[in-house]
Symmetry: C5
Subunit: 350 residues, 5 copies
């Protein structure tokens, strides 16, 4: 939400990029395909896409980098996109949602993936405009989880080359959902690690990591819950843009989304449980330590008192002159100390 | 979710087994029955089932082991099952659900049972394809809770031989639900054990076990809650595959499901209560110990101070030379110690 | 749920008693009445009830003891009750519910009452079959809260003798609801007791009792919540068995049910509050004690140190020979001790 | 719920007072008014009201004291009130509700006000029977928050004299709602007081008061939440007794009710927050104290040990005879003590 | 709610200001505009606005200061506003809401902004009356976040000059929503600050600030949640006052509102998490300190006991005369101390 300030008070539909620029140069991947044809080209220029809008095949325009509001504006003009939609594309803090327009659908989602190197969750906004025979997808970053999809298109595997633009949109959503599964798998492994570590001992740092894990899970929920609505709306959309044959696939995607949400919720309860376990096992361990230390002190304090008695300098202390008094006192001290130890032990205090 | 990775990016409907293989050899049990006929055979070959599809009686094909995607694919082709359904069968992390197709119903459930030997909950996915005169059930493991059902079929007891494939599907669901009851009974007993143990004392290990119990209850919920939806959808399904006479039985099953869910919820609140009780009784006990130890120290520290006074080596300390000073000081110490004890006692500090 | 095991795998509608037998001999109370007639007889034999089914008056058959599955089966046959209903009657762990059949209604409820002698809550399952001119009620135990109702029937007080079987069923439900109120009154008194006790001090035992109270409240909820559904369904039942004149009474009963549920919820929050109060007042008291003890120790440790100084045996310690050194040191110790006390006091540490 | 016992088992509609009698003599205020007429009289006799039922103006009969079941019964007979309604009037533990009958509406509410003298919340049940040209209101106690309303009627201010019985009922409800606001204002002030007190320090008594505040808020909720339903039902009631012109006023009242409920919820969360703050600030303060005390002890214990060393009576202890040993040891002690202090400080332990 | 007292018992629609007066003089900004015309004037007199009601352009009357009930009453009379609406305008504790009347809409909202200087959240009530060609907005305070809007009107930027009164109302709501975003950005930054601070250490003051943050978030929720309803009602309002072209903008505003609400909820969970983290890291740190201190004491207490032994004055203590006894004892002490340290270390107690 960081750069929101510059937009306050501007009229709605003002095209201002309000995010963090993740990529130097905007890259545009254009794929035009049909059951028997396939064409692919890369460009940095949005105008190069325009001829494909009216071409016969299905066109997939994948734009990486959304920080150039002029490019977005040009695209919007040519494809007749509503200014509020363009504004949503440029605002990378958009909440996942879907909107139905007469000649296109607008979908915004969060693409989440796990960056193993830096041990953080990568989040990036993906917008899609789904027309009758084109799909425009817009990503913030360079790394590309959509490559397997491109590969399938190239090879013509499955039904993808024969189906329409709605099926391509579904396939993109499906890849995004698959990446959610991978991410949750990673987080699940981390949680198991934590559990092992908790069993062995823990420190302040563990607490911090648990807290970070909790926050991550919380932010995950925020990205993933709205996806359910998006997929439901797609499945039920009364739009000619979505063909009947695609519905079972959307239903399947819906099932996946539910499963993802349930896994997130499970993770969430697990994290809460881990924190609870951390706190109570920590306090247990602490208590054990304090108990042992206090027992040691408690045993020696009365003994020191006895030593103190016979360290007094009174002139008349008859015991001082008894020959075996010293060893007698030592023996008494031993008895008292052992007695206390025995008593504490029997009471199961340590 | 462990082996999910290999599926990312593949087209939907790709038949890849994503689970853990629990069984060496796939076994197929085929039972063909009618009011007056009964025939049973075992096979390892899916093709042996095909003739029964069009035979006159009801056919129950029970497949144990789902790791062979080729077998599933062959079966799917012959019985005209949608590829997405076959994919769901091969994914053993499927969420329980039900889907209505024109010529069959697809049901996925979790079969849960308690393994007394290893003290763990066994979970296995059971898929069912319910056609007009056949039921295909697919299990992951060998152990078989469906045997009593087979026995009933053999003996022709009850209405099962006279009823249709939908009643057979209901009977399978009913047996699964009965096993949930058995499992919950076991967990309930464990919880009562815990309660007794807590009353007697507890340690770090108890906390760990409580935490595991909590997690088990949580995972149970995840398996059992969706079963409610499945049964409701079955009961209300507007499908010719479900006959009117079966509806009251499904309603009965629904009641059982509600009761199972309520028991799970009860267990859950009980576990939370036990953890709470564990923590507070633990902290109570700890506090009692610390209090007693601290009281001992507190009594002896001032007495040691007095002994320290008369251990000083000043040249002019008149008391040192008084004849009864030593016993006087001992007496004063006794009075102070007893006074403190009495005061602490009266204040109910121990 | 204890004896559930023997039912697993049996066909639905198998008549097996799955509860605890509370009564030696089954007793059947038969009352046949009309505006001007009243007849009452006791029997141990279900066949004695059969003539009354077709007799002119309203017949109330009250069966105490449901462990005899043969008797239930005979009754079911004669009154044409669905086998699943009979199974529910024999399963005393049934969840409260209501079902509408063509010629009768089936109602299951929990009758709860407080056993003052043993200080526990008595729970018993009450099933009812409400026909057009008969009501069959089935109870588990002998003690009978329905006696005032019988008395009203005998005396012909109120509208009960003039009304139909549905009103009798309502009257039974009303008595059960009244007993819930009595029970909640008892629990409310117990809670007030606890509060008083908490203000005076508490121990480990109080915690255990609070925990038991919490569990009781929780089980109460489980019995009482579904009653709301039952009464709503009765009120809205589109069945000729329920006459229009009875509807306002059912609405009144519904209001009572809501009030009972709200009281249970209040009790629940109260118990949670009491536990919270117990824990925090306990920890407060503990802290106070530890603080006082620590302050005593803290004051004497530095003084003991000073005494230790002058207990050293160095050859050259000039102070040792000063005439007033001893009293001076005593005075300094007094000043230090008093100063610390004063400082701690001003800081409100005790 | 205290005197409920005597009602158990009685037929519904039995007129028995089940509350606490708050008033010696029943007082009845009768006001009969129209746009141009106004008449007021007081009576102790319900029969005096009867002529006004059929008189031309709107009649408001305000009965203070509901413990006389005969009077209520007489009234009920004359005004043709359903016996279950009369029973509800006599049961002062009724849950707030509204019921629509053919010729009258029945409304039960709780009137809450703050008793500054005794520092408690006064609660009293107010029932209303709203006919086409009369309103009967029944209160438990003498103190009267409805006086301003009577004053408005006397002076003919506002639209009240011109409007019908439904507007009078609305006006009574409005005054009750206004008193809720006043009460919440009082509680809000108390909460601010508590906050200030918490910042300055707190004790066991504060905890008790917070707990009482929490319970009060909880009971408040129970009285106020159902009012929302009552007002909604009134607004939507399809009854000729409620005129169209009154609807906007009821909508306004509904807004007030929502605001009251939100304030109660805010209070509730605030109280929970205060308790949380109390507990954690208490434990913080306690920890601070313990830390300081422990630091003092920790510094002096090693020093005392050193003094103890040189208090030993060994024959061969060379240091004892060094001329500057004493001051050297004192200096070393000073260095150790200061070093520890410095170290603890740098570690920010105090 | 402070000055509510003076309103109790008054008839509804009584125009009494119940808030805090924030502004000395009421200021009225009048802007009258059309696609090609623009006129702006300031006045302190409500009568000056009247001619614009029937003028051709859209008129925006912005009244700053609502404490003058006479002015509001005059305005209400001229613009034919319902007295209950006027009452709501004068009550600055109104809950955000929207009401549809025949010839105007009434909207109440809270305008929230962050006062950087005083570090508090400014809250002010904004009411709007939206007619067919005029908008009356009423604010409590002078500072004005609506200036950018006025600027847009002056410059004729965007569609605002061409659209109707409903679009102006939307634009005002949009600016208010933008300010919510800014406020949440601020609070988010504060929360990140807190997190950093918690990692470094914390004190009682941090707890207080966290508590204040929690309360602010809570009050924020109370202001922002109802806005959702307001915008939904506007979007779905079946009123000729809202033109079809404005609907997409309202839908966009609705999306923003959802996002604001989600951010508030995130903040809320974050704050709860921070408090939890504060408490547990605090208790962790405390425990660490206590552990170290206790370990120091525990090591020296037994050593002091040994020193005490040899400080005893018994006549027959053979060790005292051994030549190397002193150094032997010192060595033994060293061994014991080092052994304990080593043991504690190995047990990972510090």
């Amino acid at each position: 939400m960081k750069t929101f300030k510059k937009k306050v008070g501007l009229p709605p539909g003002s095209l201002i990029f309000t995010g963090k620029q993740h990529i130097e140069e905007i890259m545009i991947d254009i794929i035009d395909y049909g059951p028997d044809s396939f064409k692919e080209l890369k460009s940095e220029n949005i105008e190069n896409c325009f001829p494909y809008r009216d071409a016969e095949g299905i066109t997939w325009i994948d734009i990486k980098g959304v920080h150039d509001s002029k490019l977005i504006s040009k695209m919007g003009e040519y494809f007749k996109i509503h200014p509020l939609v363009l504004e949503d594309i440029l605002n990378t803090n958009q909440r996942p949602k879907m909107e139905i327009f007469d000649n296109y659908l607008f979908i915004v989602l969060k693409m989440l993936s796990y960056n193993e190197a830096e041990n953080v969750i990568n989040s990036e906004q993906v917008s899609m405009i789904v027309g009758s025979d084109y799909v425009i997808s817009l990503q913030e970053k360079e790394e590309d989880v959509l490559d397997p999809l491109r590969e399938r298109l190239r090879k013509g595997k499955g039904r993808i080359r024969k189906a329409g633009a709605d099926y391509l949109a579904y396939a993109i959503l499906d890849v995004i959902a698959d990446n959610y599964f991978l991410l949750l798998e990673k987080l699940g492994e981390q949680m198991e690690d934590f559990e092992d570590r908790l069993l062995k001992g823990s420190n302040q740092e563990t607490l911090m990591k648990l807290y970070i894990l909790k926050r991550e899970t919380f932010l995950l929920r925020k990205s993933i819950w709205p996806m359910r609505e998006v997929v439901t709306q797609l499945e039920r959309a009364d739009s000619p843009l979505i063909m009947n044959e695609t519905i079972p696939f959307l239903r399947d995607l819906y099932d996946h989304t539910i499963q993802i949400i349930e896994t997130v919720e499970t993770n969430r309860e697990m994290t809460a449980g881990l924190i609870e376990l951390y706190l109570s096992s920590n306090s247990n361990r602490m208590n054990e330590v304090m108990k042992v230390l206090t027992i040691i002190a408690t045993i020696f304090i009365p003994l020191t008192f006895i030593a103190g008695i016979y360290g007094m300098n009174f002139a008349y202390m008859p015991e001082l002159d008894w020959p075996w008094a010293y060893f007698g006192v030592l023996f008494i001290m031993l008895v008292i100390g052992a007695g206390m130890l025995f008593y504490f032990r029997r009471k199961k205090w340590f």
